[in-house]
Symmetry: C5
Subunit: 157 residues, 5 copies
């Protein structure tokens, strides 16, 4: 039985974990979900570290939503470096799923973008643990999360 | 008995620790506070490291107030990375509470912002140690510290 | 028998690994290729860490394609730092091969740039493992990957 | 007997260590000074690491003077991150004292700023080792090094 | 017998190692040089790590030449952080010698700047290993590498 850690925040304006959990449940079985909710983005790295170390997670999904200000971009950058550092130290993947408030113009669009991106990253997380060949088959395919795929530069001819 | 480390600076223009300590005392019992005051922001990471390693803290609250100059933003960024790195190494949370002098226009507003943000981060720190479910219940709720909450993108309907 | 790890992404719009593998096969023998495909750039460092630690790679090739947005440059920067950090911790080389979508103006040019750069970095990877003297002989020669070589500042006279 | 490490550079245009050492001598006794001079800012982190590891320092003072160019700011940022990282790894404080050439307009002002800032940081270093309560008493007091103190936002009333 | 590691690149347009080696030979004896040539700037940190760990170097000289593009500055920044991190982990100095193509306007000037800076950094490397007092004597002297010294702010009077 694999363990998937889910770390999310009270800062986010969308309940990203709800969408991620729903998608994980739909993706398959053979795993258990562990969850830690922290105040903000920069608390995610240590939450993942604890999900790995104390809770035995095999992979973490780190869900966050940087605000609109310039400073929020700095926070996101810092959090990303912390997540990268944690994953490398733990030797286990952290799937980062950040939705920037500034990516869209309305609350409804933010909810919808959050839903789509969290769901698609959750599917990726599932594939990394259980179906790595699904990823290998789509190498270089120009996949995106939350927005339409860009697709490969060279279409099949 | 849990231990909460509080690291603060002589550089800050508001006694953030005073507000944090008052809030912690109001939040509940079952913990002891350890404190280290250092000159500036960049001294906070090693102060937290010592609060964890020498003083046995279970969580640290890092309180700082970057000045108005462009360079102060760089210092804050460096200090944040150091705090993140420390928390990950220690596997224990550091609640970063930074109040930028440039966020407000007067000394009175700075004092007030400092009071509110330090108090709210202290409450978060308490919740992380003693009431993690309080945070989980408010995942995606758009909470803010020091300013009014942004609220969730999708209001309950 | 040496082991070369190849990490690539589903985000990339060109199947960079295909070109790298073809070049490696043409370069010589004495090695086995291990591959891990991950969703995006920031997943590459931990993929390399796993290629080294679990799969026994002696060197990794990290292939990625940052998108056109400003934010993609930040992601590439973060991924690069993660790759550097991983290589230093593992004491083994990671050859980073990033192709930015913004470097060229059309899909065909992107495919071609990807092909050339991935091939040339693969050749470098092979040289690092099997023919380090080939590199030493060309120190200061102004070599480039994907674009024409800049050449030495002082031409042989 | 405590040990204070002092790391400085040949790049700096002011002999910052001289001022720091004078101030340390005036501050009190009970410590021994160890010194390492390196070429530039980026050599300071490993110099401190050696002062801690080989020379047994309990605290280091890292003195540097970034030049006027934009690139010097990048070097200072890199050096700061290295110093932070070193302090956290060693679990011992490094008091960073950087004087930017661009902070003032003349050589005389640079010498004077260097003198004041190095002296004040040396006093802080002494306090951190021997009189931590002096710092705690001035938490939130808006202290500055090299320039007049900003003072607390809320004056005693 | 000390060991000096020299890491350089095929990307550079000047054979910086040649100048460094010549200067080291002129500086004195008592050391052996170990060399590793890698493709680019970002390969230097792990090359130094290997020079220390596998080849037993006591100090490394990292020679690189960032190109003219904005992106090259990012690469240099990343490489610098990797070098700093490596030196701190190894507890041994890495003398970074980067010559930016954009510092000068012609190939001849680039060759000349490379020659001067590599030579002067090599002399520093030698001093760090064998004559640390030479550096201490020139603390705060405003020394530069590749360009004329800035000199001390306060001339001897």
């Amino acid at each position: 039985m694999k363990r998937i850690g889910v770390a999310d925040t009270t800062f986010a304006r969308v309940d990203l974990a709800r969408y991620a959990l729903r998608e994980l449940a739909a993706a398959g079985t053979g795993f258990r979900v562990l969850r830690r909710t922290v105040p903000g983005l920069k608390d995610l790295p240590v939450a993942c570290r604890q999900l790995f170390g104390q809770d035995g997670a095999d992979l973490c999904l780190a869900l966050g939503m940087p605000g609109k200000a310039e400073y929020d971009r700095t926070c996101a950058h810092e959090a990303s470096l912390g997540l990268l550092f944690t994953a490398v130290l733990e030797r286990k993947p952290i799937v980062e799923c950040f939705v920037f408030e500034s990516e869209v113009g309305s609350d409804d669009a933010l909810e919808e973008l959050g839903r789509r991106r969290a769901s698609e990253h959750a599917r990726n997380a599932y594939a990394m643990l259980f179906r790595p060949n699904d990823l290998a088959r789509r190498a270089g395919a120009g996949l995106r999360q939350g927005f339409p795929d860009a697709g490969p530069a060279r279409r099949a001819r």
